[in-house]
């Protein structure tokens, strides 16, 4: 049926194309014609819509602001344009020329805001919602939607944790966190909560993004709403208009030198090695006896991985809304190479949105959006031994990248007596030769039928389907590896994985809205069913005869642990209802509730109810404020509600039998099985109760508007695999436990400092988010992360380790201070004896560790400036985050004082002797791993550094042409720079937004945020683009 439908759409589309080219060439001159010019402050307004009220008849002003349209006396012309107040002009008999002046609109209060299951006039919104139009985001040369939103939303922290194209965006609404459930918001595209990757969607398809933050706005999404909801509305035609838009940009990306982690160069490293042996009273190996021979011979392994990479995007958008048919089509090609060699990200996308008005009572609509994403990323990110970037950083700069013939070396190893304990392949080869590609084919379709049997009542039924097919291919030829200490040739290996998922959703909604006197109300009720199935097929194989054919059948070994298939399914049945009421548009009330039944919840706990309510009062409509010359708008609002998080895994409630616990008897593989988890029929969702209080103010005719929200949330019943003693044979018990309190303040200000020829608008936001763990499970007051603790009474996931007091300054200091038996020496790291037992210990609950840092910021902020002057426009977007720390985990190698790896340049200034104690950051090298190992292996405050930053995300400068051929309605050229500058004192690497063991992409990462292992760098991107309307 879909195919049939699709072909119909295609035919229509071809028709549209022809039609549009014709209409744009024809003039509208007719006998009974009214003409005119639309202006504002004396300047013509091109592109303004002139519509005859109550009809679909309309036209658009040309570049001089002129229009002509058939009209009869008594008609009313409705003239509108974005950013201007809409004006209505009655057509009077005998007058054929109308000069219409539009006034700049400074207020967006009459705008319609997309909310869950509907829309609302902004003035009457009682929840905490922020929406952004797609046009505001159009010029930014980035691959993901989240990147475009950075810095624009109050209360939403968006971090780019890695520079890998199309990946690594972490979105946290109001600081929401979970111990082991997911923390990413729910993405709803045209009413359909999607299960696939939001980054597959072409940002140019987006018309509007609404971010729902408080419980009243989100509770209609019930058990999936606790992390916040992002509603995405795709493009539709504007009434009476036909438009063809071409948006193209191309440019390049480069990693700035500024901000890179400063490593020793070859000469500095050789000098360090020389000093290392001298300080230990040992013979200096020949290769390091004269460091000056390495002058100018540096091998910067990190830089060798990088390249200047092109980025381009092409989008053609057709929209038309005429004669009961509203269609839009967006065709997009996005092509990005990465700044690390062999990175590729391509997206081909198409979207066809069509609505038909079958009769006055029935509407139907279908949106079909297929896209294809190809992505190859070298194994850049990861710990030592797995991530190529970390590996490159810690490789000796005296090891040659290229041989005397300019060819990339194959393998580097220095003799054992130089302290080179690991052999290294050439990382540039690794990046070039390893294949790590994913191709995704996605199809998102949404369709609806809407029936309005009587005035004010509508029934809407939707059927939505999402199909995702992704193929992953990893291949490791025998000439390359991403691991250290692996001899070349190595064992060639490959992984093939196919994921197929399908999700369908049927929703049935009845809406009744009416106005009786001063009472406006709307009632909505509905029910829905959604089902999801994912099939995973994976084969991992190794040992190949020929590197060119890394197929499964050519492998000698099929790796049993990495070869499996798996099915993941869930279902969700829901009923929901909402009642909205306003009196004279100034006393506002909303109540809603959703009931969710889910296959994920235990059999004793299958249904959850998620209610909410909100109230608002528009004070500025009251007599005492009406006509106030300063305060033009004032509203206070408050909401309370309960939402859930159902990201608890699909089969977590069941006790599962693992039937691959195999054994060998007499060298014969024999199948075995074991019960590997405990069941919990009471398992349920995570519950978040949230209260929000806020107000919105407008001053000076809304030239300045100000918004404030305070929220407090309590999340309980957190999904957690409670660790149980393993004498039970199990590691944990999946349960709903604990309580975390979150609270925060959000400020937003929008201002128009100047109007007229030079127009300047500013949007700024500032957010404070806090949290505290109030309770964990019975008998458990702490949960450890990688270098973190989540402890009752403290904020979530704090850095946890020993506190560094300095280095033992001399023998006296060593003698008089607590130390580590058998390990501490003069010049070694001096740690605080936190438990006061006289010795320094690490391990268990009662050792000397304490909280040593906070990965969460004190506040985050963003500011966007837009300037317009004559034909020029400019925007500057910046955002920052203040007070958070990062854990420089890579220092465990990059500051390994045994000289086995390349080191950070700061390690030059380490402890050499009591008379030469250095900067105090790094201790003595004498004593070998027994002494130096403490500093690198025991988590301590030396790893924790402030990572406050302010980033100029984007600067765009555009010029709109006025003298154009008739076929072109408007044309704008622009230049855009992304990630222009980062201001920070963080010295551990190029990206202060990094979070490599908790990027929210998988479970469990929440407990270990803010860890830096040297990620894929975030480039500075400079592009040039054109935006042309036909």
């Amino acid at each position: 049926m879909n195919n049939h439908y699709l072909s119909k759409v295609k035919i229509r589309l071809v028709g549209f194309l022809l039609f549009m080219f014709c209409t744009s060439l024809l003039s509208f001159g007719q006998a009974q014609t009214v003409t005119g010019v639309v202006t504002s402050e004396g300047e013509p307004v091109p592109g303004a819509l002139v519509l005859i009220k109550g009809t679909q008849k309309g036209t658009v002003t040309d570049i001089d602001g002129t229009f002509s349209i058939d009209a009869t006396a008594g008609n009313v012309l409705v003239v509108s344009f974005v950013g201007y107040t809409t004006k209505e002009v009655p057509v009077v008999g005998g007058q054929t020329t109308y000069n219409i002046s539009l006034s700049l609109s400074t207020s967006d209060l009459s705008e319609v805001v997309v909310v869950g299951y509907g829309s609302q006039i902004k003035k009457e919104v009682t929840g905490a919602i922020q929406s952004i139009g797609g046009a505001q985001l159009r010029d930014m040369p980035v691959s993901t939607i989240a990147q475009k939103l950075q810095g624009r939303l109050a209360g939403v922290q968006i971090n780019q944790t890695t520079g890998q194209p199309g990946r690594g965006m972490q979105v946290r609404i109001r600081g929401q966190l979970s111990v082991s459930g997911g923390s990413e918001p729910l993405y709803v595209v045209d009413g359909f909560p999607i299960t696939g990757d939001i980054n597959s969607i072409n940002p140019d398809e987006i018309d509007d993004i609404s971010v729902l933050k408080d419980a009243a706005s989100t509770s209609l999404y019930g058990s999936r709403a606790a992390n916040g909801v992002v509603l995405i509305t795709t493009k539709k035609g504007k009434a009476g208009q036909t438009n063809v838009n071409l948006n193209v940009f191309t440019g390049f990306q480069k990693v700035p030198m500024r901000g890179r982690l400063e490593m020793m160069n070859a000469e500095e490293f050789a000098q360090f090695k020389k000093e290392y042996y001298e300080d230990a009273g040992q013979t200096v190996p020949q290769v390091f006896s004269d460091p000056s021979i390495y002058r100018g011979q540096n091998n910067d392994w990190y830089d060798a991985l990088l390249q200047t990479a092109p980025i381009s995007s092409y989008n053609l958008t057709l929209t038309s809304n005429k004669e009961r048919v509203n269609t839009s089509a967006v065709v997009g090609v996005f092509d990005q190479k990465g700044v690390v060699v062999n990175t590729d990200f391509k997206r081909f996308s198409l979207r066809l949105n069509t609505d038909y008005q079958l009769s006055d009572k029935v509407n139907i609509g279908v949106n079909v959006a297929p896209n294809y994403v190809f992505d190859n990323t070298p194994r850049s990110d990861g710990d030592r031994g797995t991530g190529i970037i970390f590996n490159a950083l810690h490789t000796w700069p005296v090891m040659p990248i290229r041989d005397e013939n300019g060819e990339l070396t194959l393998f580097n190893r220095f003799p054992a007596e130089t302290g080179n304990i690991f052999a290294y392949p050439n990382w540039v080869r690794s990046a070039q030769e390893l294949t790590n590609e994913t191709t995704r084919l996605n199809l998102l379709t949404t369709s609806y039928v809407e029936w309005k049997p009587i005035k004010n009542l509508s029934f809407r039924s939707t059927f939505n389907v999402e199909l995702n097919n992704s193929r992953f291919f990893f291949s490791n030829p025998s000439t390359a590896t991403s691991a250290i200490n692996v001899a070349i040739p190595t064992v060639a290996s490959s992984i093939r994985e196919t994921n197929n998922n399908m999700s369908w959703l049927n929703e049935n909604i009845a809406t009744y809205r009416n106005t009786i006197g001063d009472h406006n109300f709307e009632m909505l009720a509905g029910f829905s069913n959604q089902r999801f199935r994912l099939d995973i097929y994976r084969v991992q194989s190794d040992t190949y005869a020929d590197d060119r054919i890394l197929t499964t059948q050519a492998a000698v070994n099929i790796n049993r642990g990495g070869t499996f298939n798996n099915v993941q399914e869930w279902s969700l049945t829901s009923v929901f209802s909402r009642f909205t009421y306003s009196y004279k548009g100034k006393y506002l009330f909303t109540a809603s509730a959703r009931g969710d039944g889910s296959s994920r919840f235990g059999s004793n706990n299958r249904w959850g109810i998620f209610p909410s309510t909100s109230v608002g009062w528009v004070l500025s409509d009251e007599e005492f404020l009406k006509g106030n010359s300063t305060i033009s708008f004032a509203k206070i609002r408050s909401s309370y509600g309960i939402t859930g998080n159902n990201n608890i895994g699909n089969y977590t409630q069941y006790a599962l039998v693992n039937n691959t616990v195999n054994v060998a008897f007499g060298n014969t593989l024999t199948p075995g099985a074991a019960v590997t988890s405990l069941d919990n029929p009471n398992l349920g969702w995570e519950t978040t109760a949230q209260m929000d209080v806020g107000f919105d103010l407008g001053f000076l005719d809304d030239r300045i508007s100000f918004g404030y929200d305070y929220f407090v949330k309590n999340t309980t019943n957190l999904l957690y695999a409670v660790q149980i003693p393993q004498e039970s044979g199990f590691t944990n018990f999946n349960d709903n436990i604990g309580e975390i309190k979150f609270w925060g303040h959000e400020f937003q200000i929008n201002a128009v400092p100047t109007t007229g020829a030079f127009r300047w608008t500013v949007n700024a936001n500032l957010s404070f988010n806090r949290n505290r763990v109030l309770e964990l499970a019975d008998g458990i007051d702490r949960v450890y992360g990688s270098f973190h603790i989540t402890q009752v009474g403290k904020p979530f996931a704090q850095f946890y380790g020993l506190k560094k007091l300095g280095n033992y300054a001399n023998a006296e200091d060593l003698a008089n201070s607590p130390k580590i038996p058998g390990r501490s020496t003069v010049g070694s790291i001096k740690l605080e004896d936190f438990n006061g037992d006289g010795v320094i210990t690490f391990g268990g609950d009662r050792d000397d560790r304490q909280i040593i840092g906070n990965p969460f910021p004190d506040f985050t902020y963003g500011i966007t400036n837009n300037f317009n002057w004559k034909n020029w426009d400019m925007s500057i977007v910046g955002s920052g985050s203040h007070g958070q720390d990062l854990y420089m985990r890579h220092l465990y190698s990059l500051a390994n004082l045994d000289g086995v790896f390349n080191m950070v340049r700061k390690a030059k200034d380490r402890f050499r002797s009591p008379d030469n104690p250095g900067e105090g950051i790094f201790g003595t090298t004498v004593g070998g791993g027994n002494v130096t190992g403490i500093e690198r292996d025991w988590p301590n405050s030396n790893f924790v550094w402030d990572a406050s930053f302010f980033t100029i995300r984007n600067i765009t400068l555009g010029y709109t042409f006025t003298k154009l051929p008739k076929a072109i309605r408007s044309a704008r050229l622009y230049a855009s720079a992304q990630n222009v500058l980062v201001f920070t004192n963080y010295w551990g690497g190029q990206n202060p937004e990094v979070s490599m063991q908790g990027n929210g992409q998988g479970d469990g990462g929440n407990l270990s945020p803010g860890v830096d292992l040297g990620p894929y760098p975030v480039p500075r991107t400079i592009t040039f683009g054109a935006n042309i309307n036909f």
Partner: protein, 503 residues
């Protein structure tokens, strides 16, 4: 109005089918509710109970049972600091705080052994209520009882008092149990094995590698000897010798299973089954029992794999000068047990380093071998029986058994005479016959010889660090806290103590 009724009907239909719609059981995994119904389920489940033995013998068993004795030591590599978990066992400095230790090897042993117990309990709890072939049921039950007793016997010797789990844990409640007295644990071990013996078939009637009646008798004999119940030990062990199921291999070297061959041979009473390849059933203990660093060429000459890789880190389980000296002149077992290799990356002039040879064998892939680990060999049965007899004054019979073992090693009959001398002779024989088979620490504690053996051993190391493989580098000497923890029992693992209210 009709239209509304239709809508209502659709609504109702949706909800009546709700329960089905909302019940989704995993398609690619069984759940415990549907398992334990058939003979095959129980056979698979008891197989699963063997599985944790691999990880235990690949690591914790030799770390706690052999490296923690005077037979082997570690080889200090100054470039590596993060190795204290093995070091602390080798040099008797296991840290203790409130009776617990953060040592990860102690933790690994605890968790691995309790995993065996839990899986055995999963089999034993429901098995009587399910109808299937009685012989098969007896066999499965016997194996499960053996495995549970085997794990508890290791735990009770490592820790003394331990929690005694005999039924599957249902949830968070009951996951932790109070510590049971040592005697109670031993009573349960003896009961389980006494029950298991009649249920289990003899070796000739059992699939190779599975627990046999002979294995259960040997284990029970070992338990009785640990408890000094000499007569009981003799009674349970004698039928193993008389069964005709076992014999000594013609040469000592032949007693040890190879990578793919000679597994479960005539001398084997119970051995841990490994299998090389990509199926996850392999071991890599040969790689852990090496001095580091080793070059690719040195690794290749040891194992002849197709993809040798360089090795670095810290070597463990290196034979001490003490064990090398313990062999009598002419003892064929010395060259079969220990070999010397050249470690070119070893600091200082002395590059020649001893390693364990008895498990050594070539294999295909680096760090992946199928060499089985011998737990009980017939030679040990003879020595256990000899000890049980000698302690009851049957010195002559004991000497006969002892000399069987000596004779295979190319040695003359023992000259020991009288109960005391024979006792010493057996103790000494056990050391060399069973060297590197994780018997030494248990022998030392059950004969109360920590002061006699370990204390002077520690003094020798501190006095002559170069003899014990410390590199000739300034500062690379034994730490100042070595040989400070000479307790018979290991402290409880801290990570488990943190979760249990009972210790």
């Amino acid at each position: 109005m009709k239209k509304y009724s239709i809508l209502l009907l659709v609504l109702l239909m949706t909800f009546t089918s709700c329960d089905d719609f909302l019940t989704i059981v995993p398609e690619t995994q069984l759940s415990s509710a549907t398992f334990f119904k058939t003979e095959n389920d129980f056979v698979q489940a008891v197989n699963g109970a063997y599985a944790p033995l691999r990880a235990y013998y690949n690591g914790p068993a030799w770390l706690l049972g052999e490296l923690h004795s005077d037979n082997t030591f570690y080889m200090r590599n100054v470039l590596f600091g993060a190795v204290e978990n093995a070091e602390n066992l080798a040099d008797f400095s296991v840290p203790v705080s409130n009776g617990t230790t953060p040592n990860t090897n102690v933790l690994g042993a605890w968790r691995g052994l309790y995993l065996i117990i839990a899986r055995a309990n999963q089999v034993l709890a429901p098995i009587d209520a399910v109808n299937f072939n009685q012989d098969s049921k007896n066999n499965v039950k016997g194996q499960a009882l053996f495995l549970r007793a085997f794990a508890y016997f290791h735990l009770v010797r490592y820790f003394g008092k331990v929690p005694l789990h005999l039924t599957p844990v249902p949830g968070r409640e009951g996951a932790a149990l109070p510590l049971s007295e040592e005697a109670a644990v031993f009573d349960q071990i003896i009961k389980d094995l006494t029950d298991a013996i009649p249920l289990l078939p003899q070796k000739s009637a059992q699939l190779p590698g599975r627990v046999t009646q002979g294995a259960a008798r040997t284990l029970l004999g070992d338990v009785f000897i640990y408890r000094k119940r000499w007569a009981d030990a003799e009674q349970v062990l004698a039928p193993v010798v008389s069964s005709g199921q076992y014999s000594l291999m013609s040469s000592y070297a032949m007693a040890f299973p190879k990578n793919t061959t000679n597994k479960n041979n005539a001398e084997s009473v119970f051995e841990i089954q490994f299998r090389e390849g990509p199926d996850g059933l392999q071991g890599n203990f040969l790689y852990q029992h090496l001095p580091y660093p080793l070059t690719v060429a040195e690794v290749r000459s040891l194992f002849n794999t197709s993809n040798p890789q360089p090795l670095d880190g810290q070597g463990n389980n290196i034979p001490t000068p003490d064990i090398i000296a313990a062999y009598e002149p002419g003892d064929l077992r010395k060259d079969a047990s220990i070999m010397f290799i050249t470690v070119s990356g070893r600091p200082g002039p002395n590059k020649t380093t001893p390693i364990i040879k008895k498990f050594q064998d070539n294999h295909a892939q680096h760090n992946n071998h199928g060499v089985n680990w011998p737990v009980y060999r017939y030679a040990e049965v003879l020595l256990l029986l000899a000890e049980a007899q000698n302690e009851q004054g049957k010195t002559g019979e004991a000497l006969g058994l002892l000399n069987q073992v000596r004779s295979r090693a190319g040695l003359a009959a023992s000259t020991a005479a009288g109960q005391t001398q024979v006792r010493e002779a057996i103790f000494k024989e056990r050391r060399v016959e069973l060297a590197f088979e994780n018997k030494r620490w248990f022998d030392i504690i059950r004969t109360d010889r920590i002061q006699e053996i370990i204390v002077p051993y520690g003094q020798r190391i501190v006095a002559n660090p170069l003899d014990y493989y410390f590199p000739p580098i300034p500062g690379a000497v034994p730490r100042n806290n070595v040989f400070t923890n000479l307790d018979k029992f290991y402290p409880y693992p801290a990570a488990e103590s943190d979760l249990s209210p009972f210790f």
